[in-house]
């Protein structure tokens, strides 16, 4: 089995705006993961200019430990994290939203969900480990160190949220240190972890369905079942996006053009939505037939 993996590349001038899957450097992240028993010290200047420290009061501690077991060595502590909030959310938080019709403009700021990228021990980065991470519910997603310095394991199990004020946004955006080489692949893995949907879960289900129905212990996925479930995942996202986008166009249109835009978008949806729903239905039908065929072959034998 070959395993396709996401890696990160250095963002250059042509990189798209910060979005889902981007790797952000968070200098404080490692310290938050140190230990539940750690105590933060605040640097202070003592009399005479001497540098010193004092224990932080409870209210001064930004966050509690995110939960890495304290027996792990610092080599495994993360200092970067991947944005796993969806693209719309990232847009709202980092770029705000212009005024839409009666709705006022929203300033940037809000909360983003992040998954830490922790460095991995060598034995965690073997192909076997990759497979386990892919197929298991380990909540970790390996990122090979593919000639770029940010390899390791994306640790979905320890996802956390950062709260950004409007003034924090420029600093956060400038902390991007990697863009995923395959954003869609990362999305599929995150989707499998977060909502148990998408091609990865579909393939697991299709393999297991085939095994149960045919009695063959190992074999490829039931192709049509896999296709139907995957298409359902892709379709339910794309269809909602298309409807939402159409509504947005209507809202953004000026008072005078609104009726015209509304008619235009309605016409578009009237043509497109049935096509999409029928494609899903056809895939579902093919999947159903495949299952029935498999069941029939078992009955005959």
């Amino acid at each position: 089995m070959s395993v396709t993996l996401t890696t990160f590349a250095k963002p250059d001038g042509d990189a798209p705006p910060v979005s889902f899957g981007d790797l952000m450097s968070l200098s404080w992240l490692n310290e938050l993961h140190l230990s539940p028993r750690s105590e933060r010290l605040l640097p202070i200047t003592l009399k005479g200019g001497k540098a010193g420290f004092r224990p932080a009061e409870q209210h001064e501690v930004a966050d509690s430990c995110i939960g890495y077991a304290d027996e792990r060595t610092s080599a495994l502590k993360p200092h970067a994290a991947v944005i796993v909030s969806d693209e719309c959310q990232v847009d709202d938080v980092l770029r705000g939203r212009p005024a839409q019709g009666d709705a006022p403009a929203l300033s940037a700021g809000g909360r983003l969900l992040m998954a830490p990228l922790r460095p991995a021990q060598p034995d965690e980065m073997t192909m076997q480990a990759f497979r386990r991470a892919v197929v298991g519910a380990a909540g970790e997603w390996p990122v090979p160190d593919d000639g770029y310095e940010h390899g390791g394991l994306i640790d979905f199990d320890r996802s956390f949220m950062v709260k950004l004020g409007e003034n924090d946004v420029p600093g956060f955006v400038s902390a991007r240190i990697g863009v995923p080489t395959d954003r869609d692949l990362l999305l599929r893995r995150w989707s499998a972890y977060a909502v148990r949907r998408g091609p990865l879960v579909a393939e697991v289900a299709a393999v297991q369905a085939r095994e149960l129905l045919t009695g063959e212990p190992a074999g490829p996925a039931a192709e049509q079942v896999f296709n139907a479930l995957s298409l359902l995942w892709a379709g339910e996202g794309a269809i909602e996006d298309r409807v939402s986008e159409a509504m947005e166009q209507v809202r953004l249109a000026g008072e005078e053009q609104r009726d015209e835009v509304r008619a235009e978008q309605a016409e578009r949806l009237r043509l497109e939505l049935p096509k999409a729903l029928r494609a899903i239905a056809e895939a579902a039908q093919a999947g159903a037939e495949e299952i029935e065929a498999m069941s029939a072959s078992i009955s005959r034998s």
């Binding site: 933060r40 640097p43 009399k47 010193g52 502590k77 697991v204 393999v207 296709n227 298409l231 999409a276």
Partner: protein, 312 residues
């Protein structure tokens, strides 16, 4: 820890025994507090005596400043903390192999830690008063002796290397030693001195020890640079894991100058930490042994699958 100098430390800054006696006779510098016992004699000066050395030979308008400093130094001799420290040194003088700061502080911290802290605070208070009364600027920066050449001691302070002649180096630190560089300036007068650093890493109490070790880490990592802006520093809440300070400190200091040098230092620290915690290794081994390969039930179809254009 600061506040005291032994005669051995102060002597190079003055020049010779004869000069020192002469200056003391003229009351240009304070007389030491002498402690005798077991055939040894320890002569202690408050650190501020360096300022008096700096003022010797200056213009007449420093007379008032000199008188003020002398008054403050003598005031320190009379303070409770100094008396208590002197008594402790008197009692334990025999245990001092050499009358230098490291050993003096070891005695003080082991036997009268509160008095040692109080003395440091008293010296700080005196310096603050001098700043207020005489418009005297006092600054301390950490450094590291990086070379001795041409009769000069080269001290790296942050990114710069400062050169001090023998007169300005107290206690003759060796190459590699941590030092404090003290600056005195008032009006048109200024002078700088190099002093040895004595970290009381043996201080009782893990919490204090960890604090000191963080300070040492900062010093070691930055090679004597000024303390950089540290966003977060954590102190472990139990003595066993106190060494983990290095991990936090060095992570935060990864952008500090001299990265290459401190990387190997950090590797050593982490190796030591692992050695001191054999349970970590056992757990790692257990985890590796229990890592039974899961049954692979999935291919990579999920990764290569392309959704058709549903709207076409």
């Amino acid at each position: 820890m600061r506040g005291l100098l032994t005669r051995n430390e102060l002597l190079p800054t003055v020049g010779s025994d004869r000069t020192m006696r002469d200056w003391q006779k003229k009351e240009l510098i304070a007389k030491p507090k002498a402690i005798d016992g077991f055939g040894k004699r320890l002569r202690l000066y408050p650190e501020i005596a360096l300022l008096q050395v700096a003022l010797v030979g200056r213009r007449a308008d420093t007379d008032r400043l000199r008188r003020t400093v002398t008054k403050r130094v003598e005031g320190l001799y009379g303070c409770d903390a100094f008396r208590e420290c002197s008594a402790a040194l008197d009692q334990h003088l025999k245990s001092l192999p050499v009358a230098d700061l490291q050993h003096v502080f070891r005695v003080l911290i082991e036997h009268v830690p509160d008095a040692a802290d109080a003395l440091e605070r008293d010296v700080d208070a005196v310096e603050k008063k001098l700043t207020e009364e005489c418009d005297l600027f006092l600054q301390t920066r950490l450094g590291r002796v990086c070379a001795e050449a041409d009769g000069l001691t080269h001290v790296r302070i942050g990114d710069e290397v400062a050169r001090f002649d023998v007169r300005h180096v107290a206690g003759r630190p060796q190459v590699g030693d941590s030092v404090r560089c003290r600056s005195f300036s008032t009006g048109g007068l200024s002078d700088r001195f190099v002093l040895p650093v004595a970290f009381p890493a043996f201080r009782d109490g893990w919490r204090q020890q960890a604090s000191v070790e963080v300070a040492e880490a900062v010093e070691a990592v930055t090679h004597g640079g000024e303390l950089p802006e540290m966003e977060y520093v954590f102190l472990y809440a139990d003595p066993d894991s106190a060494p983990a300070w290095a991990q936090a400190a060095t992570r935060q200091l990864r952008d500090a100058p001299g990265q290459e040098q401190w990387k190997s230092w950090l590797a050593g620290q982490l190796a030591d930490y692992a050695d001191r915690h054999p349970s970590l290794r056992v757990k790692d081994e257990q985890r590796a042994a229990s890592a039974v390969a899961d049954e692979v039930v999935v291919g990579d179809r999920w990764a290569s699958w392309q959704a058709p254009d549903l709207f076409a």
